[in-house]
């Protein structure tokens, strides 16, 4: 045990003695790991918030189906749907996209009585009358909008709106680029009357299949699409897995580039190290002891690098709001998001980053270390 402790202390001293090399390897590890940890944390945060939204949302989502895509559903069936046994609430919505000047905004139109209770993070108030809107924090900051200001917007129709409220920066990310207005205003803006992009159906527990049968009777001659909460939640998860997959693909390239960087950094002072190993072996060190010392050095440096990378990632998210990286996971946001980015640092990615760091440093040094520690002392000391 004393031997291993001695080697551990010596490994620590060696890292301190070779400060330049330690710093360079640590910087390489941080450059590789920090974006990875930050990205995973943001992805997890956004995914978490999405799933919370889904869980807090309706039990069933009804749309029309055109060419395999969601399409607007007419409101004429609304009363029939409300009458189905087990249906507690029916909420038609218009969700669309439109430009406010040069910036893309998500437009949500909903009847005032259907506004979810969760929407409370607003400075000012919610819309009450026609032409009144609540604007997302990102949009409001970008256009210096405050309550009482007016702006015009054109989709199918041109309309002038008055800002009566602004979503606060720590509200859900969906509020960042959102313009929230009455269902009627949204219909007028998009030039579509008597249709909704989807109908949210809230139901009594356990009634979904019966309601689905009743809906089939109502819509039997129409192409419609009915999705339940589990399905939506699955789509959300799938979507994030795809995004994470794309990010990971980019990351494999970065990882592959990182290995030679670590290799080069680990090679600093290699001739000095070879000589040192030769001296160690000449004075009775065994190959396994030399390798243990080198592995401990790599373990310590990877622990140090990964720890700093995790701390920097936390700083990146908390202080710099995931600048430059959040775009991967949240559409239509700027490089410097103006709203509070949701992020979750889970233990597994953090543990994985320690593993990756160790793997990188070992890959970078294992061959040269192995060759040095198995060579004859005479060759090494030359």
């Amino acid at each position: 045990m004393n031997k291993h402790l001695n080697l551990l202390f010596l490994a620590t001293e060696n890292l301190l003695r070779h400060r330049a090399k330690t710093v360079v390897v640590c910087l390489c590890l941080i450059a590789i790991l920090s974006p990875f940890i930050t990205a995973i944390a943001i992805s997890e945060g956004v995914r978490g918030q999405s799933l919370i939204s889904v869980n807090a949302g309706a039990d069933l989502y009804l749309t029309y189906d055109e060419f395999g895509r969601n399409a607007a559903v007419p409101l004429k069936y609304l009363d029939e749907i409300k009458k189905i046994f087990g249906v507690t609430r029916v909420v038609p919505r218009i969700i669309g996209r439109g430009f406010l000047q040069n910036k893309l905004a998500i437009i949500v139109g909903i009847n005032q009585e259907d506004v979810p209770e969760s929407i409370s993070c607003v400075s000012g108030r919610l819309f009450e009358n026609s032409h009144e809107v609540v604007v997302g924090y990102e949009l409001a900051t970008h256009f210096h909008l405050k309550t009482g200001d007016q702006f015009s917007m054109r989709c199918q129709q041109r309309k002038v709106f008055t800002v009566v409220g602004i979503f606060s920066s720590d509200s859900s990310i969906w509020g960042a680029s959102m313009i929230f207005m009455s269902f009627r205003d949204a219909g007028e803006l998009f030039g579509k009357q008597d249709v909704a992009t989807d109908i949210q159906i809230h139901t009594l527990p356990g009634h979904n299949s019966e309601i689905a049968t009743d809906l089939y009777d109502i819509f039997q001659h129409e192409a419609y699409r009915l999705q339940d909460k589990q399905m939506v939640s699955l789509y959300v998860k799938k979507g994030f897995m795809l995004k994470e997959g794309i990010f990971s693909a980019f990351y494999v390239v970065a990882f592959a580039l990182g290995v030679p960087a670590i290799l080069v950094a680990s090679g600093f002072g290699l001739s000095e190290r070879k000589k040192e190993i030769g001296i160690m072996k000449a004075t009775g060190w065994q190959t396994l002891e030399v390798l243990e010392l080198i592995s401990m050095e790599q373990l310590l440096i990877s622990f140090l690098g990964a720890t700093i990378a995790i701390l920097l990632s936390v700083l990146w998210v908390k202080s710099f709001n995931g600048a430059f990286i959040a775009q991967f996971f949240i559409a239509e946001i700027t490089m410097l998001p103006r709203f509070t980015l949701p992020a979750r640092f889970l233990p597994l990615p953090c543990l994985l980053s320690f593993f990756f760091a160790f793997l990188l440093t070992m890959v970078g040094s294992v061959y040269s270390s192995w060759r040095s520690s198995t060579a004859s002392p005479v060759v090494l000391m030359k």
Binding site: N6, L7, W285, M381
Partner: protein, 220 residues
Amino acid sequence: MIRTEHLCKSYSHSSQYEIRAIYDINVTISKNSFVVFNGPSGSGKTTLLNVMGTLDRPTAGKVFLYGEEITPFSDIALARLRREKIGFIFQDFHLIPRLTSWENVAYPLVPRGIGYKERFERAKLLLEKMGLGDRLDHTSEELSGGQQQRVAIARALINNPEIIIADEPTSNIDEETSVQIRELLNELKARGVTILVATHDAMFEKVADVVFKMKNGRIL
């Protein structure tokens, strides 16, 4: 104590030709003797000491230590032999540059599991005996050649070896220090240590029990 039979060591420079560093060496060295290998540069002194000291493996022939053939020993067994029985003093000192004197001396004790305090005490004691008590925390760059060689000798002695192998121990140092080192090796011999020295220095022949003259890889 140490015996060689038809010991050969060659280095191949390409597939076409090889250089014979030592050839058909047969020597017997008895315990507690002071043996000097003398000869010009390239005569094979260093190679012979390296092979006898287990730092290098022979191309052919056998090495016996205490009657046991050590040539087929594994690297682990040879490393154990070096740790327990042999101390080396090199011409170029071979100190680790960033370590202090005492850390260099105590370095062989690290894998033996000896604690920091004991390592320091043992290194300090040896360095004080070498007259370097005031240079404990100096790195090798801050020491003269003679001081570095004395640190190297202290390191060779830290494991209380039965054999000291010294390769040109006085070639890079001044005359005054050379005298001290010769006296020191003589003292070690008096304490029962077997000393093997490869040297050009004719003064060693005066203190040696046996002198082997070498030329072109052979003992004359």
